[in-house]
């Protein structure tokens, strides 16, 4: 991986977390955010707030059934304001389930991303700074991980240990670790060539201090970009598994599971599947737009 001093300096200067900024005090460029990105950020913020406040916003209990109000269409398609987005085959309110599912989906994706990022960054730092056998072994683990597709690995673990959130989250979280490990290792290897690293070593700084205080802050900006990508990857992995009935299990619910449930009622009651699918698409699209924009901002090398 080619090293690039310009990128790391500029990147960390925009993030505003690195010592580079303190040294240089360059005037902060005014951040111009295009409207599409404002829209994406707004949408993600709304999703986050709704997920956090879920119990307050749900018009009904998401599991409450009403046999007299089954398969009610949404407002505008023959439904009433009692169920704005309609109901499913058991008369459960779609809006309430949507909010609850959003909460679950975002919760799993956030925790999964955190696990994958922490494990991956730690191993990447270790591989990059320690080198030698440790490096080879960690990269060997990455090779193994890359040879087994995420979905298949997750399915295998679920097949063996059963479906529960406590297993689901680490499994899909670990699906992303290798990307963080490779990125961090590559960054460390290029940052290690820098003069200031040599200076720290010459001054007698320990390996640990070097890794955590001097190298880590300089690799943050590509990692932030990677977070936006793995977050949506993990969200989609969870959604796919739940869609197949192998992820989140009732009475809990997630967006993918709602789409999967709605699949059987596409004839006649399309809204059961369409509502969660639309939310899923909106979030992945917003995340992708935001991630692309962030990458272009933080990583001028990749500008197209």
């Amino acid at each position: 991986m080619p090293g690039s001093a310009v990128r790391d300096r500029r990147g960390s200067a925009t993030v505003g977390a690195a010592p580079a900024e303190r040294l240089e005090r360059r005037p902060r460029r005014r951040l111009k955010i295009p409207p599409v990105i404002w829209l994406s950020i707004g949408l993600l913020a709304v999703a986050l707030i709704v997920a956090l406040l879920a119990p307050l916003l749900e018009p009904y209990r998401p599991t409450a059934q009403s046999l007299r109000a089954r398969l009610v269409p949404p407002v505008g398609f023959g439904g009433t304001l009692a169920h704005v987005l309609g109901t499913d085959h058991l008369g459960r309110d779609i809006l309430a389930r949507l909010i609850e599912s959003l909460r679950m989906t975002l919760f799993i994706a956030a925790l999964g991303t955190l696990i994958g990022a922490l494990v991956g960054i730690a191993l990447g730092l270790l591989a990059g700074t320690a080198g030698g056998f440790v490096d080879s072994f960690i990269m060997f683990l990455v090779d193994i991980q890359l040879a087994i597709p995420f979905t298949l690995a997750a399915l295998t673990v679920i097949g063996i240990f059963g479906t529960s959130i406590a297993i689901l989250i680490p499994v899909i979280g670990l699906a992303g670790w290798s990307q963080y490990a490779r990125l961090t290792r590559g960054q460390v290897l290029s940052v290690r060539q820098m003069l200031y690293v040599e200076a720290v070593q010459a001054l007698g700084g320990s390996q640990r201090r070097l890794a955590l205080r001097h190298i880590l802050p300089n690799v943050t900006s590509p990692i932030i970009v990677l977070v936006t990508y793995t977050f949506s990857q993990i969200m989609l992995l969870e959604s796919s598994l739940s869609f197949l009935g192998l992820g989140v299990q009732p009475p809990q619910m997630s967006l993918g599971m709602m789409v999967g449930d709605g699949r059987n009622y596409l004839i006649g009651s399309w809204w059961i599947a369409v509502a969660p699918a639309a939310v899923l698409v909106a979030i992945t699209v917003a995340l992708a737009l935001f991630g692309d924009w962030l990458r272009d901002r933080l990583d001028p090398r990749l500008e197209r």
């Binding site: 087994i148 597709p149 796919s240 596409l266 369409v274 197209r304």
Partner: protein, 308 residues
Amino acid sequence: MNAGSYLWTRLFRSLLTLFAILLVAFLATRLSGDPTQWLLGDTATPAQQDAMRSELGIDKPIPEQFLRYLRQIVRGDFGTSYFEHRDVLVVLGERLPPTLQLMALAIAFGFALGITIGIVAAVNHDRWIDRALMMITFWMYAVPNFVLAIAMILVFSLWLHWLPSSSYGTWAHAVMPTLALGSSYAALVARITRSSMLDTLGQDYVRTATAKGLARRVVILKHCLRNALLPVVTLVGLVAGSLVGGSVVIETVFAWPGAGRLIVNAVLVQDYPVLQVAVLLVATVVIITNFLVDSAYALIDPRVQYAR
């Protein structure tokens, strides 16, 4: 390091990876519990279970079991499906052709469409057609495959009645699964082709070719595209693995009778031998594909750095 020793190192690493996956698969099946319970049912006596255990060899120490397991695999004996009571290789073998067919269609579709979009976008760089195409590929990439599948079923099957919503047989059955599985790859290929085409379009030899009066079509297809396709070829290796994950979902949605549905079903009914052989097969294919792609890359392009 020269190309020859690079390939040997790479081959050694691939074999080592495969061995590690065998070990993981073996340990995973041991972790999954005592198979005699499923094989014999609740009515079995402890004596029967003991007999079964020694027959299966799972009363021996773990390292000995692993050696025995390796011997079995070398002989091609991957075990018997708990539920169909047949050789798992036969069970899986029956389901592979539809899956391979679907993957081949998706890859062909993805690359044909992706390369076309990539070329058109690069040639019209920064004009409205480039922006429109990039917008389309963005959506193709961002929309999850099962959402796309559901949307297509709604529109083309239930509203327009153009295509059958599920099952297998005629070409009409293959249209929607191919699109659902292939569209994100088309988007990926399009983006990579475009940026790599833009790189080559700016090269001196392209300017020379244009200057000496060659037709634009010849310059683009013969001089640019051939060089621009190298990164796209690498993509095949990366895509091989994720296609499997995608086909698991897509086959289930469209009731496509392939290995993906077999795997989902094996997880649901806890048919571990089937699951294990499927994982081993996919891992082997991915490892071999990546090895071949890396080798091809090293042989085609002498500038590739061999050291990691």
